[in-house]
């Protein structure tokens, strides 16, 4: 005989499903009082650490040597996001391909978009390359809100740090003085380092360079480089033979010798461009943690500027 599904049995099944999770595993409390911060990228993590000091626990979703446009939304990040009190994002649609589902699935009300624990760092920064006129994908993977690689300008780093200081003080008013003091110290150190970096780069002001992706407008503007072309024919579109030939012609005409490449791009095309033009490929790190020695925001510029300076000297 067919088994009849009784109402009581059904009620039992459905209700137990619903209640098992809710009741058996209450959310456990926390022992320490550190603010748990998750950031989209390592640069934001480094800035948050500078301001938060030992009052915060910071971790980044993306690694420094990873293309921040393409990060897998792994469930292992969900656990960390579910416990975070503050999420700091780059914004400008950089993370649009992977962060929204992580935020939703984290089921953490504190870090949902617009919640007090959601901080978009682009609000504080000076943004370049904001498209004007009509935006279409004929231009490749354009960012309609502007270029999201804005953290590579130390002034923007300072602005973001200020934003983080305000946010942390708002979350933990008792520690506001501590965060203010850390910000002041950071500002002083950054201004000092910035003078050195600018002095190091000064002899090369106006030098023309080519970059793989449009990751460097803020860096180039701040340190006086002139980006005249890109290895990618359009943002996010892999190099094409025709574009490469045109770029080589352009570089030869203008005497451009430096090709800046991010660590996550293939070096085949840049290397062949360098061979053709007698130039040099320089792999610069767009983010903290791109190399082991780049442990914080300061070392990021130390590393990139040292490497760039060497290449600029060699190709002069």
């Amino acid at each position: 005989m067919p088994r009849l599904l009784t109402k009581t049995r059904f009620t039992a099944i459905a209700l137990s499903f619903a209640l098992v999770f809710a009741l058996l595993f209450p959310v456990t409390g926390r022992a320490d009082s550190k603010i748990r911060i998750m950031t989209a990228t390592t640069d934001l993590a480094s800035l948050a650490q500078e301001i938060g000091g030992d009052k915060v626990d910071v971790e980044s979703v993306a690694r420094g040597y990873q293309d921040p446009h393409f990060v897998d939304p792994k469930p292992s990040f969900l656990l960390k996001l579910s416990k975070a009190e503050l999420l700091i994002v780059v914004g400008l649609e950089l993370e649009i391909g992977w962060l929204p589902p992580l935020i939703t699935q984290s089921s953490n009300p504190r870090i949902q978009v617009g919640a007090p624990g959601y901080l978009d760092a682009s609000r504080f920064a000076k943004i370049l390359e904001i498209p004007t006129g009509q935006v279409t994908r004929a231009e490749g993977d354009v960012h309609p809100l502007g270029n999201p690689h804005y953290w590579l300008d130390p002034d923007n780093g300072l602005r973001i740090a200020k934003g983080i200081q305000d946010k942390l003080s708002e979350m933990h008013p008792n520690d506001a003085a501590y965060f203010a003091q850390r910000y002041d110290a950071f500002e002083q150190r950054l201004k000092q380092s910035e003078q050195q970096w600018l002095a190091q780069m000064k002899p090369y002001a106006g030098r023309k360079v080519v970059t793989y992706h449009r990751s460097w407008p803020n860096f180039a503007e701040h340190f006086g480089l002139n980006v005249v072309g890109y290895v990618e024919p359009r943002p996010g579109i892999p190099p094409s033979p025709q574009h490469t030939v045109e770029l080589i012609g352009h570089m030869k005409r203008d005497g451009v010798k430096i090709i800046i490449v991010e660590p996550y791009f293939d070096l085949k095309t840049p290397n062949s461009i360098a061979r053709e033009t007698g130039g040099q490929v320089v792999v610069l790190m767009p983010s903290v943690g791109g190399e082991k020695e780049i442990t914080d925001y300061f070392k990021l510029f130390d590393y990139d500027i040292a490497k760039l300076k060497k290449a600029l000297d060699e190709t002069h």
Partner: protein, 447 residues
């Protein structure tokens, strides 16, 4: 049933009500309610004052900007990525206080976007499929605009977001998914309400355009409802579960009306179906991870309220993707096993009740060779849900090319050894090809 409805409604409303209270709570914990009120009022007053100052500041800046920018913008030709250089407002000279309460829009970028700010993210994914070759068992159309899927996604309010995917075929329309997700529930619960693909295994949750093949595996067609699969209206509840170190565990429990393609059919209101899913995930290294799952689904089939179909499945996925070369190389291996137990009347003996136990599975692998090319393959085997003596087998080879992130061209060779009787088979040899294109908002890919 009534009792259940009342209880679940109560549970739901209390949860939502709780969620709506939660975010407005002040950050400080150990303060008495009266003094918190006071402190809040004071804080608000201070904020209003600082905001007034800020508005004045912004106005003057805007004026400045307009004056400096207007000659520039009118002179330049139509350059798409013209860099504009607005002065940074927050920091340099005036230490304007608390940017924290300003609306979460882009300070310098939002001007042109503002008009559309409250529209949902809209996208359309076109899926064109062509088929050539022989298949007399399940012949497909030679050329078809298989589906045009419109996606509308938005944040509804501070407590919820909603996603709708409406799929237009050449002639009909189908709400593939439309659901609201409550993101602010207590106890770490995540509740989705609406119509959605159920979390039964892996392939059932994936939209057509996100599959690594053009068709769906044989077992999906034979045992789990075909292209639409288990896709039904109801409640979808999930939560992370405590897990051993380095493991991620998630459980889902879903209560559905009981109508899903040809698997489940509700002839009475009581004929609801349930789906349960347990997922275990672990990072084996930075580039490699393992994803395991078991699922269960139960519902009534098309023969009526006394006939149940129970489905069980197990899935395993191994992924490899080196982070430094993530856009060039990756590998994915996946296998899913399905068991179906379907109550029905015997075809041979009239009025004899019987349960057909059918088994099916597929294994697939895909390898990204470089930024633009992926190769893949799939092995298929599946019994028929209504007659477990019949077993289809098959395999496919797949080649995919991506001109950009927003379009995809794919070819698939498919061989099928399809059962038409206990020992009668027909062979099917087919070439499928597909063009996919994405308009509008850049949806995130499921993981």
């Amino acid at each position: 049933m009534k009792r259940f409805a009342v209880l679940s409604a109560l549970l739901l409303f209390s949860a939502i009500a709780h969620a709506q209270d939660a975010p407005s709570r002040p950050a400080k914990r150990d303060v008495s309610p009266a003094s918190t009120e006071d402190a809040r009022m004071k804080a608000l007053e201070a904020q209003v004052r600082s905001l007034v100052g800020e508005v004045a500041l912004l106005r003057s800046e805007l004026k400045e900007l307009r004056e400096t920018k207007s000659p520039e913008s009118s002179s330049g030709p139509q350059v798409l990525l013209a860099s504009s250089h607005p002065e940074p407002g927050m920091l340099p000279s005036s230490p304007a206080p608390a940017a924290a309460q300003v609306a979460q829009t882009q300070t310098f970028g939002g001007a042109s976007g503002n008009a559309k700010l409250l529209n949902p993210d809209i996208s359309l994914i076109g899926d064109f499929i062509g088929t050539a070759g022989h298949n007399s068992v399940a012949p497909g159309r030679s050329l078809e605009m298989h589906e045009s899927e419109v996606g509308l996604q938005a944040i509804i309010d501070p407590y919820a977001r909603a996603d709708a995917f409406i799929s237009f075929g050449e002639t009909g329309v189908n709400v593939e998914e439309a659901y609201v997700t409550f993101t602010s529930l207590p106890a770490g619960l995540l509740l989705k309400v609406g119509k959605k693909r159920a979390d039964f295994g892996k392939v059932n949750t994936i939209h057509n355009h996100a599959l690594p093949f053009i068709d769906r595996p044989l077992v999906t067609n034979n045992l789990v409802g075909g292209e639409d699969g288990i896709d039904d209206a109801g409640f979808f509840l999930s939560r992370f579960l405590p897990a051993p170190k380095n493991w991620f565990l998630e459980g889902s429990a879903e209560l559905l009306r009981g109508d899903s393609a040809d698997v489940f059919q509700a002839s009475r209101r009581q004929d609801v179906s349930v789906v349960g899913h347990l997922r275990a995930y672990r990072d084996l290294s930075e580039s490699t991870n393992l994803d395991l799952g078991v699922s269960y689904a139960r519902g009534h089939n098309n023969l009526g309220s006394n006939f149940l179909t129970n489905l069980y499945s197990g899935d395993a996925t191994l992924r490899w993707k080196p982070l430094r070369r993530a856009i060039y190389n990756s590998f994915l291996f996946r296998t899913e096993l399905f068991w179906s137990a379907r109550d029905q009347l015997s075809a041979a003996v009239p009025n004899l009740f019987q349960t057909q136990h059918a088994f099916g599975m597929y294994s697939s692998a895909e390898y990204r060779v470089n930024r633009r090319w992926t190769v893949g393959g799939r092995l298929d085997r599946s019994g028929h849900a209504t007659d477990a003596r019949l077993t289809d087998t098959g395999f496919s080879g797949i080649l995919t090319y991506w001109p950009s992130e927003f379009s995809q061209i794919r070819g698939q060779y498919r061989f099928g050894h399809l059962a038409t009787g206990p020992s009668d088979f027909l062979n099917a040899n087919e070439i499928l090809f597909q063009f996919l294109f994405v308009m509008g908002a850049h949806g995130a890919h499921p993981f």
